[in-house]
């Protein structure tokens, strides 16, 4: 009995060693590989472009230019953490944007129009929940189908025309074009959304349950976790954040474009999957996603400043994505091996 009581104390390393181990793990390239890649990118471009790259303007360009991509990627964190794909998020972005733009152009106040935009986004979230959770259709196919229906509705609603008008240049454009300490609105919103997601996922019971559902839904169900409710909620969160990203996008271009969101489909998935290799080793997480967006943005901005050929940005993204996904696979295999 004495032995069993003493064993844990004897196997436990001293406090300083524990702190050191935790710190070493946190800064290990296995935890924050993207940060190391980011450092390499910054060093390389700072040497190559000493007058233009290592400046505050570059920081602003990365933060402002990739903030909507960051919001779009953050929309995917919760559903992917529950092992649910949401391919409709890009169409939801478009839908919320054109809805708000339509009502602003027709005389509604910007705030009320944005609320309506958010409302339709959440309605699509509910539809996704019904299709994926209630009807048990595979999320990859189900959300692809709802996305296609949303796009069809957008074309019907807009007659495939861009919604524009000088009314959109007023209060509506302020959502994305407002400057806060040199950063545009969406850059600040992305940090706030990441903060909220981080808190919920890391510091609440709901967050633990979300990850539990993602890691092993059967085990989570046996542990009396309401798996279906959590997956449904994940799709609602995705639609809500995507809807907000869509409002920012429409505000940024001062128009409701019937295809605006689709361009964010691949960059957002790229960022969220790279983000899963950061900080939490194989878990989809908010800060890792932001780090990934910053890394991809820093590289792309460096390439554009150096007048790289027009295929360079796509090639860079592809290389980084393959590298990051290979690293994720490697980490998972290591975790399984213990």
């Amino acid at each position: 009995m004495t032995n069993t009581l003493e064993r844990p104390a004897a196997s436990r390393p001293p406090a300083t060693e524990r702190v050191w181990t935790r710190w070493a793990t946190a800064v290990s390239p296995r935890s924050i590989g993207a940060v190391y890649i980011l450092v390499v990118i910054v060093v390389v471009f700072s040497i190559a472009l000493p007058s233009t790259y290592p400046t505050l303007a570059t920081v602003k360009q990365v933060a402002n230019g990739y903030s909507i991509t960051a919001l779009a990627a953050l929309a995917l964190v919760v559903p992917l953490a529950t092992r649910t794909f949401d391919l409709s998020f890009a169409y939801v972005m478009t839908l919320s944007g054109v809805t708000a733009a339509h009502f602003v152009v027709h005389g509604m106040s910007a705030f009320a129009a944005m609320l309506l935009g958010m409302l339709v986004a959440l309605v699509i979230g509910v539809v996704n929940g019904l299709v994926v959770v209630v009807m048990r259709i595979d999320s990859f196919i189900g959300t692809l189908a709802t996305g296609s229906l949303v796009q069809a509705f957008i074309i019907f609603f807009t007659n495939a025309q861009i919604i524009s008008g000088v009314e959109l240049a007023g209060g509506f454009s302020q959502l994305a074009q407002v400057q806060i300490v040199g950063l545009t609105g969406p850059a600040v919103y992305a940090v706030v959304v990441a903060l909220v997601l981080w808190f919920v996922l890391e510091h609440t019971v709901v967050g633990r349950r979300i990850y539990a559902v993602g890691f092993n839904p059967d085990a989570a169900r046996l542990a009396t976790i309401a798996v279906d409710r959590i997956r449904f909620g994940g799709l609602l969160v995705s639609a809500g954040v995507a809807g907000f990203a869509g409002l920012c996008l429409a505000s940024s271009i001062s128009a409701g474009s019937p295809t605006a969101g689709t361009a964010y489909l691949l960059p957002a998935f790229a960022a969220v999957f790279v983000g899963a290799t950061q900080l939490k080793r194989g878990r989809f997480n908010a800060w890792g996603t932001l780090i990934a967006v910053v890394m991809l943005g820093a590289g792309t901005v460096g390439l554009s400043l150096s007048a790289a050929p027009n295929y360079a940005a796509d090639m860079f993204t592809g290389v980084v994505l393959i590298g990051a996904l290979a690293a994720t696979g490697l980490q998972r295999r290591r975790i399984r091996r213990g």
């Binding site: 230019g65 025309q161 271009i253 400043l305 150096s306």
Partner: protein
């Protein structure tokens, strides 16, 4: 750990290599003397083009009744504008008592070939298609000719002839637009512009527009540094503003951005503002509601609207003349028009959702055909 390090090195190496691939580009701001004569010519060009044209090039009435019941197939494209054009054509074929079949495509050669196969099956009297290279439908041409289908090619690089009965919006017809964009930049800057032309190489029908812009800049303002920036087609949608901002930061002397198509400006004013580059002026071509809005709010300097209404109705006019046995009018476009803040209010007058260049262009065509407007 070693594999991870390898990935880091791989990413860094790719960044270095890609950066090294970049061209130098960009000219330095010149303090060379201004060519006043060139500036004056540019100003004259702009002044002349600021007045909206009121006449079509096609003025010869059909002069006999247009037979009803004809069928026209329109091969649409995935862009939103194509739907608007289809709607406009439908209004006019209805006026003639004709049927318009809209064949939708996703822009891929496969879907375009299916559309041409459909035209063969429809035995259409005429077909209008946008930016499709003849290589895509070459194998259908013998059957189309045998069916007597009048082929109208719009905005492709293929010349008229050899199965293409009427070609309009050809690269050569777009040259004048490039010249007017150059004149607009030179005139506004008083001969002290430093301009970058943003091109999309995938749109090869726009190549002569770029050539003409660069040549006109050189001719009218030899002291104005001018460069080009290519953007990939994959950047359309969300990447263009950051590519342009990156270029402008790397070339801080550049103060005019000239766009191969106005839709590249989507989100650009906000990106310029966020980067503290809102002194940079934007000039484009093509037009559209978002462009008019940017011009009204002062976020874009000028645009040379493409005469979409006149282009497609000229194509339809050639079909009307073919089926009535009247000799087709030569392929011509109306005089171009520059839209600035001074005259942008005129763009509010639309034909079926599109701003025509010639006032009342639709009614003028209907009059030529003897159709009720």
């Amino acid at each position: 750990m070693q594999r991870k390090s390898l990935l880091v090195l791989l990413a860094a190496a790719s960044a270095v290599i890609l950066a090294a691939c970049g061209g130098g580009g960009g000219g330095s701001a010149a303090s060379a003397p201004v060519d006043q004569a060139g500036v004056q010519r540019a100003a004259d060009l702009v002044q002349g083009a600021s007045v909206r044209p009121s006449d079509l090039n096609v003025t010869e009435p059909i002069g006999k009744p247009v037979p009803p019941g004809k069928v026209v197939d329109f091969v649409s494209c995935p862009a939103a504008d194509c739907n608007v054009i289809a709607g406009m054509l439908k209004v006019h074929t209805d006026k003639l008592g004709w049927t318009l079949n809209v064949l939708t495509t996703d822009g891929s050669p496969g879907s375009q070939q299916q559309a041409f196969a459909q035209i063969v099956r429809d035995r259409a009297d005429g077909a209008i298609y946008i930016g499709i290279d003849r290589g895509v439908y070459e194998r259908y041409l013998p059957e189309l000719q045998a069916n007597g289908t009048w082929m109208v090619s719009v905005c492709s690089t293929n010349p008229q002839g050899n199965g293409i009965d009427f070609a309009i919006c050809t690269p050569d017809q777009q040259r004048e637009t490039g010249r007017l964009m150059a004149a607009s930049v030179i005139s506004h800057s008083g001969g002290r512009a430093n301009a970058v032309y943003v091109n999309v190489p995938a749109f090869d029908n726009l190549s002569k527009l770029q050539d003409e812009f660069l040549a006109s800049m050189k001719e009218l303002c030899p002291a104005c540094p001018t460069a080009s920036q290519d953007v990939p087609i994959t950047a359309l949608g969300n990447g263009v503003p950051q590519l342009v901002v990156g270029y402008l930061r790397a070339h801080p002397d550049v103060d005019y951005v000239v766009l191969a198509i106005d839709s590249l400006a989507s989100g650009l004013p906000a990106a310029l503002k966020a980067a503290g580059l809102d002194h940079v002026e934007i000039v484009g071509q093509g037009g559209g509601d978002t462009t008019w809005q940017y011009i009204k709010t002062g976020e874009q300097l000028a645009s040379v609207p493409w005469p979409y209404v006149e282009t497609y109705l000229a194509g339809l006019d050639s079909i009307v003349r073919h089926v009535t046995g009247v000799q087709a009018a030569p392929s011509q476009l109306p005089r171009f028009w520059i839209v600035t803040k001074n005259n942008v209010a005129e763009t509010d007058l639309k034909v079926d959702g599109i701003t025509p260049v010639v006032i009342g262009a639709d009614a003028k065509f209907a009059q030529l055909w003897g159709a009720s407007s």
